[in-house]
Symmetry: C2
Subunit: 157 residues, 2 copies
């Protein structure tokens, strides 16, 4: 708690003293990576409203083997269909974050693990390389605008 | 030629009169899209040195079914191996461009068409959704830093 307070105060001081644009690059990157981790954990809860809050009507999800999924409704339908697959589970983690100098655009390189069950109920895991692109909204929140992935046989990055 | 000169003069005037950051968003976006089209045409020539100039040692290419290809050497090896596939040809076109306010980061949504021959020499076409991410270099040139794609059954975006 003390650390958090100290962090808050020093951050405020930094912002109020600096003539640079009010963006803490490294911190913002860490926040974005943490958002991605939290988002991955959120999927386990199945709370669709919270899960969907990461996207906007402008978002595009590019799943292998499908036309692009545009906007929240198409994305949500895809997630609902996916969740019906026996044994389905997904988790991901960010590996790298890059933010534009103006702090309005960012991308992350991530990886995910998808589990489904085979016909006799044994889990099958597949691994993907993932690229996510983020745009900062007027309210200061980051939203995922592009999400694309493809398979990575050994899951290593 | 006259058009080019007029374009050059008006662009210079715009830059010298404006107090905004010296970035012509729309123009820069169009330039980036044109770069992508030119790059696609360049591939047909097989001029590997010119083709490779679009990437840097920091670039990552994410081809389906492979670990990420990092840096020019791994990318070039992949291109060389690909070009040996009977009937191989690739072409792509940009569909959308988005540039950060600071003009140092951009992404494009693109699509490509890959041709290979089947065992009796008939062409087989596959279509992909593509996301490319670009970073402006110190010399003002844009380089492709991330290139990822996956299949799109009907090729429509």
């Amino acid at each position: 708690m003390k650390h958090l307070l100290l962090y808050f105060i020093t951050t405020m001081l930094f912002y109020s003293c600096s003539n640079e644009p009010k963006i803490g690059y490294k911190t913002e990157g860490e926040e974005l990576m943490q958002f991605s981790r939290d988002w991955s954990n959120l999927v386990k809860t199945g709370d669709m409203e919270k899960i969907m809050a990461g996207w906007t009507e402008e978002s595009v999800m590019m799943a292998p083997g499908l036309p692009p999924l545009k906007g929240k409704k198409q994305i949500q339908n895809y997630l609902i269909e996916g969740s019906k697959i026996p044994g389905f589970a997904i988790r991901w983690e960010p590996l790298e974050v890059h933010i534009s100098k103006s702090g309005d655009m960012a991308y992350m390189i991530e990886r995910n693990e998808v589990k489904v069950n085979d016909s006799i109920g044994n889990p099958i895991f597949t691994y993907n390389k993932v690229v996510t692109i983020w745009e900062k909204q007027e309210d200061g929140s980051w939203k995922n605008v592009v999400d694309i992935w493809n398979d990575n046989p050994n899951g290593k990055y």
